[in-house]
């Protein structure tokens, strides 16, 4: 089987498909028309995802995850995030801006998505990537698991963070984090038996600083 590093190499077939997808505008399928997206939602978005997955479910998932942080930034209504990150993403036709959904950590899965459960508020069930306030910044430390989709090829993350461990999974939030910031490093692409076109891998945060207001 192909080495997972070759699967995501800059001259790989996967990168060419990413570029084609961006040139066709599918990377902005879920973004509003007013900001240059396709404005798909509900059934339309479902059909797009299902057709991509008909071709290859792993690659379809990778293309879908690529938009997560930018769609979240657009939905935030924050003008600085929009100008600095969403606008260039919408204009990207090279597939150079790739997002990831960084939630899973070595000791838990997507537990932040279970707010209706008693465990969500259990202080014994908490996240490992922690953000602490330092002046006008959050300082981020910790590790995301090897299961982060697009983990080693992503340029930006929708990063799930813990800010108050006493509150369990409820004590956190989501930050938009460029992955070229000082202190960010990545593991090797995960070598899997299946879904090999879905890149996955760890992301490490060592005193990574992001502004509190953005």
């Amino acid at each position: 089987m192909t080495d997972p590093r070759e699967v995501v190499a800059l001259d790989s077939p996967l990168r060419k498909v990413f570029k084609q997808s961006y040139q066709l505008g599918y990377h902005v399928a879920g973004l509003p028309v007013e900001i240059g997206g396709m404005g798909l939602h509900g059934l339309g978005l479902h059909v797009l995802i299902e057709e991509m997955s008909w071709g290859a479910v792993d690659l379809g998932l990778s293309l879908l995850c690529a938009s997560f942080p930018f769609a979240a930034a657009a939905a935030s209504g924050n003008p600085e995030l929009y100008e600095k990150f969403v606008r260039p993403y919408v204009a990207d036709r090279e597939g150079s801006m790739i997002g990831c959904w960084a939630i899973t950590e070595p000791q838990h899965g997507s537990d932040e998505l279970a707010p209706g459960t008693p465990q969500f508020h259990n202080p014994r069930v908490t996240g490992q990537v922690v953000a602490r306030v330092d002046g006008d910044s959050y300082v981020i430390n910790g590790q995301k698991a090897a299961w982060v989709s697009n983990g080693t090829i992503a340029t930006h993350a929708a990063l799930y963070l813990t800010t108050d461990r006493k509150a369990g999974m409820a004590g956190g939030g989501i930050a938009f984090v460029p992955l070229n910031l000082p202190g960010v490093s990545k593991g090797k692409p995960l070598n899997k038996l299946g879904q090999r076109r879905l890149n996955q891998g760890e992301i490490y945060f060592d005193n990574v600083r992001i502004p509190r207001c953005a």
């Binding site: 479902h46 797009l48 991509m52």
Partner: protein, 39 residues
């Protein structure tokens, strides 16, 4: 989980065109070809 095909949903015309173009993209760019035939 059912697919939209299995649910037999009526697809509006504007979404139908998206469906066709995405299907063509997937088919031409990255859909898996069968490696061997059982026939």
């Amino acid at each position: 989980m059912e697919t939209y095909r299995e649910l037999n949903l009526e697809i509006p015309k504007d979404i139908e065109s998206v469906k066709e173009s995405v299907h063509r993209f997937a088919k031409d760019s990255f859909a898996r070809r069968p490696r061997c035939s059982t026939e």
